[in-house]
Symmetry: C2
Subunit: 283 residues, 2 copies
């Protein structure tokens, strides 16, 4: 089942037309909601095992780590992925960073400055809830950067991610793809439920009015940064269960691909075993 999802979500190189990619599909998965939820739960044990191996490797000097980049329009479910999918692995080995509008200090630096500071250490699964891609998305839509600067940034992003790959990062990029109708339904739900009012911001509707401009910005960004070492995956996300499963699958396949082994002992196991057995009794 798994490679089928990954292969189905892998964005082909070349121009991108998001309107041609279904938002409510479940590509590569042959089942419904309850099957998908069960499949995600079943992944838990293997994900946890592989993550612990990744974590263990760092104790013997491995530089390997995973960086999962989550992008998507408001309500596309970045938070849901964090809760339901990333929540399956040991929180000790996870580093989540949510990027908001840059602070005054961050604005004094290149757009990648704050990104560098948030990179996960060796052995970690790092997750970016929004990322450096905002600097070619909202920056394009809201004209925070001109055409030359945007062009520079696509190149800078590709150079940056290639460097990460060289350093031992597995970079997994996901665009959570919802329809405008689905967003409307989710915003309406937030408004209708007092327990969800805190998630709503009147500015959300102003951004929503720019939907076509955001779609353009995504299409251009995806095309320009869909590299071999850091490819994009477009995750149909109208179905929350498929979104969670698909990201779990991408993470699982990434970890599987690392052929993670338990590190060998860097001490004399027999000697230590004897030392422990023959210790002066502790009381």
């Amino acid at each position: 089942m798994s490679p089928a999802i990954r292969d189905a979500l892998r964005l082909p190189t070349g121009p991108v037309d998001l309107t041609a990619i279904e938002t409510d599909a479940a590509p590569g998965f042959d089942g419904g909601k309850s099957d998908g939820q069960a499949a995600l739960a079943e992944m838990g044990a293997e994900l946890a095992d592989l993550q612990e191996r990744l974590w263990a490797e760092r104790t013997v000097g491995s530089e390997r780590r995973v960086l999962l980049v989550l992008q998507g329009m408001d309500t596309s479910g970045k938070g849901g992925v964090l809760r339901h999918t990333i929540g399956l692995v040991d929180p000790q080995g996870v580093r989540i960073t949510s990027f908001k509008a840059p602070t005054e200090e961050e604005k004094q630096h290149d757009f990648l400055w704050r990104i560098e500071k948030a990179l996960p250490g060796a052995g970690y699964i790092g997750v970016f809830d929004r990322s450096h891609y905002e600097d070619v998305l909202i920056a394009r839509v809201r004209n925070f950067a001109d055409a030359d600067e945007l062009q520079r940034r696509y190149g800078a992003i590709n150079d940056f991610e290639a460097r990460l790959a060289d350093e031992g990062f597995s970079v997994v990029k996901c665009m959570l793809h919802i329809s405008a109708d689905e967003q409307k339904a989710r915003l309406a739900e937030r408004l209708a439920n007092p327990e969800k009012h805190w998630k709503y911001n009147p500015g959300d509707l102003d951004e929503r009015a720019l939907w076509p401009a955001y779609r353009d910005a995504y299409e251009i960004a995806l095309e320009h940064t869909n590299t071999e070492v850091a490819p994009w995956h477009v995750v149909p996300s109208d179905k929350k269960w498929f979104r969670n499963l698909a990201v779990g699958d991408l993470l699982l396949e990434t970890l599987r691909g690392l052929d993670l082994e338990w590190p060998p002992a860097d001490f004399d196991v027999a000697a230590e075993t004897e030392r422990l057995a023959e210790e002066t009794p502790v009381q």
Copy 2:
């Protein structure tokens, strides 16, 4: 069930004798391993709900947050608590810091300098895997600090934690209490299982030889820092299932005690609902 565990684990004020506190008991809980595991799993939904309320509150300016301090001898199960108990809540709202031997830079500062930097932001559940208490534990056992300095540190810790309480922190301190025999069994298990060799370090046996000195250091530290605003709990931890359940219970009771409400809307709900319903269609 729950308050019974918390009450049973709460360390009374006054001199501390750890040898008088059982390590393999399950105080306040009337059941065995499978009951305990089920009880922890059942906590999940309420823990997640309360954590989300804490998280939501920060969007309207609340300064409240939780700081869970985990201390204990090697193999006492700090990592297990992170995986099994902290793993129950949304990783987005959790900030875990594992304190190792201080770096050269950290040594140039007061012992609380690196602790300050790791404090959780508003709305977070912060977890310290080891903490500023190492600076009165290993520091005492290994003579990294003299008697006057240790005395100063107990006071500094109490002042620091009182300030945190004033700032909106709920400080929950747990000493994971295992027997020397249980530690020996766990070390032997690590040596016997190649998948666990990475967790073993020959230095562990050198520390183990100092068990009585560590016990003394714990007893003194617990006595000196067992304050009303930041009390200590001694968690019998020979039974892993009880340890995980007990910390879950302490966390749950702490969150319950905050009377967390969903924040009210800071916008006109009816107006926004109408605005969404009457928007220019997005396509």
